[in-house]
């Protein structure tokens, strides 16, 4: 029990992943700043942000459902943390986890977006509801792609639904990204991550210049700080899911640590570059992108992985 709490709250759970997410968020902002001829924030800026928000007053919407409004960020934080624990534990303790935890992780990764939707609808703001409706449509478009990609990975690992088996299969036969279908999957999952993190070009649910941060418009103070923490965790969780499923997972010994960090940085760099070299897509364009192109690539990857390419 105490061990589980430690896993959940400290390592590899909440505190560790917020720290890692903060560092990744800083590197994202720093790279962005350098691309745009700016200086960029100091190293601790993401943590200053959270700290400051906790000191600020939390303003509640007058006509909203307050309990739902406040509970939604907590759900987002806990589910993101839980997903992170399930993804990282099999890398740290080989063989841990249970059968079907891949499916659990899939669901847990959807809950943050869903709770943002519920929270923003509870606030009663027209711009927030517009953002929520955009987020719902976006979820509907990328989740199918995501599940196709996961199905392809299950096929590649010899019909196994547990993350530790997937890692074991990669340790025996080489990382999945080494094959043609693996490269296709990498592209697909990269765009799904981009959409799940709500980064440009898929940030229409919070589009600052259109609907003024949409789903988060009414959040302030500690509630917003919790949302920020959940988002930092997602920024760490989703690349590590990609590493676990396609690139052989983490390793904590000797050169392995450096190698893991390098993989993480490469994924983050790709995400940052995509977000800095594209304008925001319109919702229908994003849906078409996932429904037609990404699903097509995922299906091709499934076909290739059946014939073992």
């Amino acid at each position: 029990m105490i061990k589980d709490l430690f896993y959940f709250l400290i390592f590899p759970g909440m505190i560790f992943s917020v720290l890692m997410g903060g560092i990744l968020s800083w590197s994202d902002r720093k790279i962005t700043a350098r691309v745009q001829f700016r200086k960029g924030p100091p190293f601790l800026q993401p943590f200053y942000d959270i700290g400051k928000l906790f000191y600020k007053e939390t303003i509640l919407p007058e006509h909203g459902a307050r309990l739902t409004f406040l509970a939604a960020p907590v759900f987002a934080l806990f589910s993101a943390t839980l997903a992170n624990v399930f993804i990282l534990l099999p890398s740290i303790f080989p063989g841990s986890g249970f059968k079907g935890d891949l499916i659990v992780v899939f669901y847990l990764l959807t809950i943050p977006s869903l709770s943002y939707i519920i929270g923003s609808l509870a606030s009663g703001n027209p711009l927030a509801s517009l953002g929520a409706s955009r987020e719902i449509k976006l979820i509907m478009s990328y989740e199918l792609t995501f599940i196709l990609a996961l199905a392809c990975i299950v096929i590649k690992s010899g019909m196994s639904l547990s993350i530790s088996d997937i890692i074991a299969a990669q340790q025996e036969g080489g990382a999945f990204i080494g094959s043609v279908s693996g490269v296709l999957l990498f592209i697909v999952i990269l765009f799904v991550i981009q959409a799940k993190l709500a980064l440009v070009p898929f940030d229409m649910s919070e589009a600052e210049t259109e609907i003024a941060h949409g789903v988060f418009i009414e959040y302030s103070g500690s509630a917003y700080a919790i949302i920020k923490m959940a988002r930092y965790i997602m920024l760490f969780t989703l690349p590590s899911l990609m590493m676990t499923l396609l690139m052989g997972g983490f390793s904590l010994s000797g050169f392995g640590i450096l190698w893991s960090i390098l993989k993480l940085v490469v994924i983050l760099l790709l995400i940052t570059l995509i977000r800095n070299t594209n304008p925001r897509l319109r919702l229908d364009q994003a849906m078409r992108f996932f429904f037609i192109w990404m699903n097509l690539i995922a299906v091709i990857a499934i076909g290739l992985s059946i014939i073992k390419l």
Binding site: Q36, V200, E210, N276, N278, R280, R282
Partner: protein, 397 residues
């Protein structure tokens, strides 16, 4: 009939820097109707000018707009020179043209950056504004100011650009050209920008004529309307240039027109600098003793379109009536045609595409009672309130 939601953009909204209110009546994501309100920022400049002398008015009209801060003095100078039948020396004409065209480049770069920002493309925002800094450096070199250049006077300009500076300015201009071409390529070759801006916010030729739109907004719909060409002033008839138009009618065409206009402006400035070096240094204005009674109007092509100034004089040293019409005043009305039927995402970029400038456009707003529709206050009431306030403040002192 489904219920329409009102999506407010403004009075304070990250999309626009200035206070104004757009009410988008939406069904889902589709805009069905649009209403707008300005008047948050009325400063009564036309009235102020009646209490200033002719020379002081330049500094007031310069502050109508922070971005096109030379097109208003330009139009006002044209108006005053028509009233007083003043001739302007050639060197002053060239300097006026140079300042006007530099301003066009800086304004278009500013718009390009903002348009990128509105699309969520912050890299374009930062890059365009970085290169705009080079233009501001030229301004600082030639006029001493980065903004509000205070270069104009009746009959000429206030400061000369010495011949020894011309080669420096040319060097700085040459440095800008590759940057402009870089931005041109970055925008023209980006498939995602094409996807976001092509066939969005269509304004047909008829719409433009119906609403009387001017400037790049009209030129992007294939109408070659440009005061510099239609009613030549300053040194524009003396140099070789062409009016840029595009037949796209959409937001992309407006971007294209502005980008190409910047390159055209660079070539105009280049020619002006060349021709200017052959004129006599120091002869930059003809002294004006007095302005007779009468009236005149002046036009100038601001980066956003035609600026129109009307001045009536009565033989004294200040205008009896001064009327300003800024280009955004006519361009904003086209939203009724271009926004309706588009999604909210597109509506925001359409709103930005005419490069609206609300501080130029602000007009006196009247307050009406919401229920009875009766007018509560008019201009005289507001003047009375303001005078009362001043009196109270004086009493306290």
């Amino acid at each position: 009939m489904s219920k329409k939601t009102v999506i407010p953009i403004g009075p304070y909204h990250p999309l626009q820097e200035e206070p104004e209110l757009f009410k988008l009546y939406c069904e889902g994501e589709i805009v069905r109707d649009i209403e707008w309100e300005t008047g948050y920022n009325h400063r009564g400049i036309e009235k102020i000018n009646e209490s200033k002398t002719f020379d002081q008015v330049f500094f007031v009209v310069e502050r109508i707009c922070g971005i096109c801060s030379t097109s208003h003095p330009f139009a006002y100078a044209n108006a005053m020179e028509e009233v007083g039948r003043v001739e302007v020396p050639d060197r002053a004409k060239f300097i006026r043209t140079i300042i006007g065209e530099l301003e066009r480049i800086h304004s278009h770069l500013l718009w390009l950056g903002l348009a990128g920002h509105f699309l969520g493309y912050n890299t374009v925002f930062m890059w365009a504004w970085k290169y705009r800094e080079m233009i501001l450096d030229i301004f600082e070199k030639t006029t001493g100011n980065r903004n509000n250049y205070a270069m104009f006077r009746i009959g000429g300009v206030r400061r000369d650009i010495p011949n020894i500076h011309i080669s420096d300015v040319k060097k700085m201009l040459d440095a800008i050209k590759p940057k402009l071409n870089l931005l041109l390529g970055a925008v023209m070759d980006d498939p995602v920008i094409h996807a976001r801006t092509k066939k969005v916010g269509i304004l047909t030729k008829e719409d433009i004529i119906d609403y009387g739109a001017v400037g790049p907004t009209a030129r992007a719909s294939g109408i070659a309307i440009d005061v510099r060409h239609d009613d030549p002033y300053a040194a524009y008839p003396l140099v070789d240039w062409k009016v840029i138009t595009s037949d796209g009618c959409d937001v992309y065409a407006k971007t294209e027109v502005r980008l190409l206009e910047m390159l055209e402006s660079v070539s105009i400035i280049d020619q002006c600098l060349d021709k200017m070096s052959h004129t006599k240094e120091g002869s930059i204005y003809n002294p004006v003793k007095e302005i007779p009674a009468g009236f005149g109007f002046g036009r100038a092509e601001a980066p956003r379109g035609e600026v129109f100034h009307f001045v009536k004089t009565d033989g004294s040293n200040s205008p009896a009536r001064h009327k300003v019409r800024a280009p955004s005043y006519v361009n904003i009305a086209t939203f009724k045609k271009s926004c309706i039927g588009q999604t909210i995402s597109d509506a925001t970029i359409i709103l930005a595409a005419v490069d609206p400038c609300y501080c130029c456009t602000e007009r006196m707003a009247f307050a009406y009672d919401y229920y009875s529709g009766k007018q509560i206050m008019n201009g005289l009431d507001l003047i009375r309130i303001s005078q009362q306030k001043t009196k109270e403040l004086k009493m306290k002192m």
